[in-house]
Symmetry: C2
Subunit: 252 residues, 2 copies
């Protein structure tokens, strides 16, 4: 078998000391060797441990901080504390790629429809009792007409998330979550201006659809549930797309 990289002057990227330290600590965090809220040793300690100067160590700190993997506090008993990687960081980078590719907002909505629609298919013919109970509980809260629009919207979001989580696929849940975070950031202005009668009406309509969906799932009519849900997603996207900019413009 011929070598795929025959000879050629290979451009070697020499990794910098800060990168190596960040990679080392990152690996310990994602592999659960370091847990949430675990403190890192003081800078002076780590400087000795890695045999680097303070500026170099601090560069590593900034890398991990930008990835949300540590937070640093000053003062006595301060220092760096460890955090688990969060979906919104992944969403931020995905949003950067999309924005620099000139993606349109409709693309992102369509992707949400793909993921949430597929999640229902993944449920199979027999949705779990516990999952359905969870959805019912959320819908019960959503029925409360005392809520303001923002609270109602948050409950709606919770329903969408719980529905996808029922499918039991962490990857699909993560991707949907990322899309949700991007959409929330991209439509922030739209939502902030919402408050008119139109929004009230569509919120009530969405709530009714959520109830109807659970009914269909209880009856075991998953195909109908899938159709209803996809239509619901398409409708809610249309409402936003009617007034929002076509191009994706988002800062997370």
């Amino acid at each position: 078998m011929a070598s795929r990289n025959p000879v050629g002057p290979v451009q070697l990227r020499i990794p910098k000391a800060a990168e190596l330290i960040a990679a080392h600590l990152r690996q310990r965090i994602v592999s659960d060797d370091l847990s949430e809220e675990d403190p890192l040793p003081p800078e002076s300690n780590l400087m000795q441990q890695f045999s680097v100067s303070r500026p170099t160590l601090r560069e590593a700190y900034r890398i991990l901080e930008s990835e949300g993997l540590i937070t640093v506090r000053r003062g006595a008993h301060g220092g760096a504390r460890v955090h688990k990687p969060r979906p919104d960081v992944a969403a931020r980078y995905a949003a950067h790629v999309l924005q620099s590719q000139g993606a349109r907002l409709k693309d992102v909505f369509d992707a949400r429809e793909v993921l949430e629609g597929a999640a229902i298919d993944l449920l199979g013919p027999k949705p779990s009792k516990a999952g359905l109970e969870r959805l019912r509980e959320i819908n019960l809260r959503g029925q409360d007409l005392e809520h303001d629009l923002l609270t109602a919207l948050e409950i709606h979001h919770e329903f969408h998330r719980a529905l996808v989580d029922m499918a039991g696929n962490l990857t699909v849940s993560l991707l949907r979550n990322m899309i949700d975070i991007i959409l929330e950031a991209a439509t922030e202005r739209h939502v902030a201006n919402a408050g008119g009668n139109e929004e009230q009406v569509s919120s009530r309509k969405a709530q009714r659809t959520h109830v109807k969906l659970v009914e269909l799932m209880e009856q075991g009519d998953l195909p109908a549930a899938g159709r209803l849900w996809r239509a619901h997603l398409s409708d809610s996207a249309k409402i936003v797309l009617a007034t929002a900019n076509s191009a994706l413009d988002v800062t997370i």
Copy 2:
């Protein structure tokens, strides 16, 4: 309407100078104000521009470097050069989240099936001539039996990517691409050990499926194409899952 954040001692995270500089430059990069391969001014220049010292500026450099948004070269006419955000960085962070959540490899394969299956549905009844031509061209190269297994595998990957790109949804393409990068990293060992007769056979079989898919699409039988493709994805996943570890373990 009641305030959602009444009074309370709000934890204020004071952004560090390096973060602010990185955020500023990042925004200029993703918004296309700075283009691929554009040089950044020399450090001394930026130090004046942002009124910060060299260590602070260097921390900002490390942040952007870890995000793949700049590369820095030493020597005369060196300095920082701008790059567009790349999908593999987004994939890296998504992989971190999944790994720390204890996701299983099967989850990721299933997510691939969801995305690629949906892509065919998005094509609609009339796939574009140009897209079909592209797929045929890739298949033509795939027919060449002189290729070694790795080359054949790469052509297969190209087919999958081209198929999803035909759907014309940048978001779905990105998500699929991310999944692909994660899977490639997670099954690296498995692929490296491939070379036996079994792999030869399954590679040929995959190639035949790719040809068959294009035929079905040309005939306008998209439902059959969708079924065939989902089965193909499921089969190829099973082969890897039979020998690979169940837990997702990946370093990108």
